[in-house]
Amino acid sequence: MSQLDDLKSAIKDRLGELECVIGWEQGYDALHATPLFIRTEADLDRLVIGPLAVHNLATYLTAYKGKKIGVVVKGCDSRSVIELVNENLVNRDDIVVFGLCCDGVVSQPKIRAALPADPGFVESVTIGTDELKITVAGQTVTLKKSDVLADKCRVCQHPNAIIADVLIGTKQNPAGANSLACQEEFEAKSDAEKLAFWQETMSRCIRCYACRNACPMCVCRDYCIATSRDPLWLSQDNSPAENMMFQMVHVSHLAGRCTECGECERACPVDIPLMLLRRYMNKQVKDVFEHQAGTALDQTPPLFTFKVEEERIHERGW
């Protein structure tokens, strides 16, 4: 049986006891999937998985607190589930995790860059093991999956769901690489270059808060300090400084909690490379606290605790 069939039968077994199971279905065109809320066996027919199933469905979990629900997760998404459980934001017993062994998802911006015409003109998509055959505006091209793989997948260390009540598929190996060239290139720039980059990039931001609301760990949502008038952290003015301030709010509230699922960057309608900030913060967290959020149950986020003697924080000479 295929991975999809296995998943369907596993969901079918548990559906009766659950409010719903969150998976994916085909979206508005052949190149896009969209979240699917499975309530009946008939809904199961629409379930899809694969490289287009990009959404981190753990984002929806907190909205169902107190109800028993199922969720289909990739390796990266499972880290978000773990972090939510560790922070007591969801109850482990209320969630049935259908874990996938994932061989990577695509990056839509990379597909867009590789196609001969706008992906909006897509006519059909055939997904093979290592390639995607895409017909767009009458032309058919074959893209190697490795060329259009999302950045997070290129350095993925957890392709198989870390926690799962049912684990579906054959286990995949972690990626060999653990750092991205684009990240290193950016970090090597001078302060002035980096500042200019963020000034320019943040001038494109429309502060729609898609990055915030797509984030599985941003659980305040309706009560976010970004939209509060008292205290007033942010002006409604969408100047680069205010937009950057919001990103700083996001990054600092995610410090030691970010599971690097990349949803913020994926959700951004104007393609701001937000993961440059997130990955950098996560690297610092790892360096100072040897912590990677959502990689094991019963971890405490490093900023929720302290040590009297910090091994890796050194006093500066004054």
Binding site: G27, Y28, D29, H32, A33, T34, P35, L36, F37, H55, T59, Y60, P109, R112, A113, D118, G120, F121, V122, A137, E200, T201, R204, I206, R207, C208, Y209, A210, R212, N213, A214, R221, D222, Y223, T227, R229, S235, Q236, D237, N238, S239, E263, R266, A267, P269, V270, D271, I272, P273
Partner: protein
């Protein structure tokens, strides 16, 4: 008036216009196409794809300074400075749907009783040079909301790609004025080719969906929260759809205080946000995303048409579908209401 302009000359036109007015054109940066203030040296990205954000900001900027308050440490009385927008703007290379969006504002921002000077001033001083579409994207449905890939409503000049340039048709005196410039040449019989291309693009869109029953059918679902909860399940309640929409016109007004100076600004607001309807008492009549999505869809396809001669407050550009992080499809929601049977 019908004339022709080469691609090269269109760039020169943009450069020339930029000397005297604010030119907004689609520019690609970081792989994202957005409308930017154009200046010589920039490359307009007219064809790779439709701009992610609509050209709405030309007539309705995300942040509009309504007035400035200046205080002097020594003087007691603050000075109020009015900031009505000045100068002319030209938008080059938007799609017909983007230019048409501002027409939805008119019955709201300019009535017998209420006139919004900021919007009206910007609208009356902005020329839209639109580019007709060759073929529809999977998210396009302008033909279903009373428009089409070569619609001139809201535009001053409509360009259609023919050969290595564009057939330009002006539909307003402001458009005529620009097309008198020497950069434009005689169109010859290229007009026929443009007609054929426009017709072909319309053909490719297929049959239009009939939204006639939508206002009544959506209203019939008004109290059916089960329906709206199911429709909004995947919505993450961000503001991407509203901020990118050419027709969304809601705003917020806040005072920004910094030191001795402060200003009153009007910024885009978004009905998908919890704070949009949050009342001073703490009560929120639209407390869940289901309530909020109901409002967004209902407003565009039911309440607005009921108030304004049946006009749907949507220009069919599909940005809200394409850019939604969760893939919420407004067409599907309206269809579901239209096809709903008890």
């Amino acid at each position: 008036m019908e004339r022709y302009i080469t691609k090269q000359n269109l760039t020169r036109l943009a450069e020339d216009l930029a000397k005297t007015c604010r030119v907004l054109a689609p520019v690609s940066s970081c792989g994202s196409v957005t409308f930017r203030r154009f200046q010589p040296g920039m490359t307009m990205d007219l064809h790779s794809r439709m701009a992610a954000v609509s050209p709405k900001a030309a007539t309705f900027p995300q942040t509009e300074t309504l007035l400035v308050v200046k205080r002097d440490a020594t003087e007691k009385k603050p000075e109020l400075v009015e900031t009505l927008p000045q100068g002319k703007s030209v938008v080059i290379g938007c799609r017909p749907c983007g230019a048409r969006g501002k027409l939805i504002f008119n019955p709201v921002y300019e009535t017998d009783k209420i006139k919004d000077p900021y919007f009206i001033s910007r609208r009356d001083n902005t020329v839209f040079i639109s580019l007709a579409c060759d073929r529809p994207e999977t998210t396009c449905f302008c033909h279903s909301v009373g428009s089409g890939p070569a619609d001139t409503a809201g535009s001053d000049i409509l360009l259609t790609l023919v050969g290595d340039g564009y057939v330009a048709r002006s539909v307003t005196p402001a458009g005529d004025e620009i097309m008198k410039l020497a950069l434009f040449e005689d169109a010859g019989d290229k007009g026929k080719e443009a007609d054929a291309k426009n017709a072909e693009a319309r053909e490719l869109m297929g049959e239009a969906h009939d939204y006639t029953s939508a206002p009544a059918k959506l209203l019939a679902r008004f109290d059916d929260m089960d329906f709206w909860q199911a429709q909004s399940a995947k919505c993450i309640s961000c503001g991407a759809c509203t901020y990118m929409c050419p027709t969304c016109y809601c705003f917020n007004i806040t005072d920004d205080d910094l030191g001795l100076n402060s200003r009153r600004i009007r910024t885009w607001d978004n009905c998908m946000s919890h704070t949009f309807t949050l009342e001073g008492s703490g009560h929120n009549p639209r407390s869940t995303k289901a309530h909020r999505l109901k409002n967004r869809v209902g407003h565009k396809f039911s309440y607005y048409p009921d108030l304004h001669k049946g006009v749907i407050a949507c220009c069919g550009c599909g940005r809200c579908i394409k850019q939604c992080p969760a893939g919420v499809d407004i067409r599907q929601i309206v269809n579901a209401a239209q096809e709903y049977s008890e």
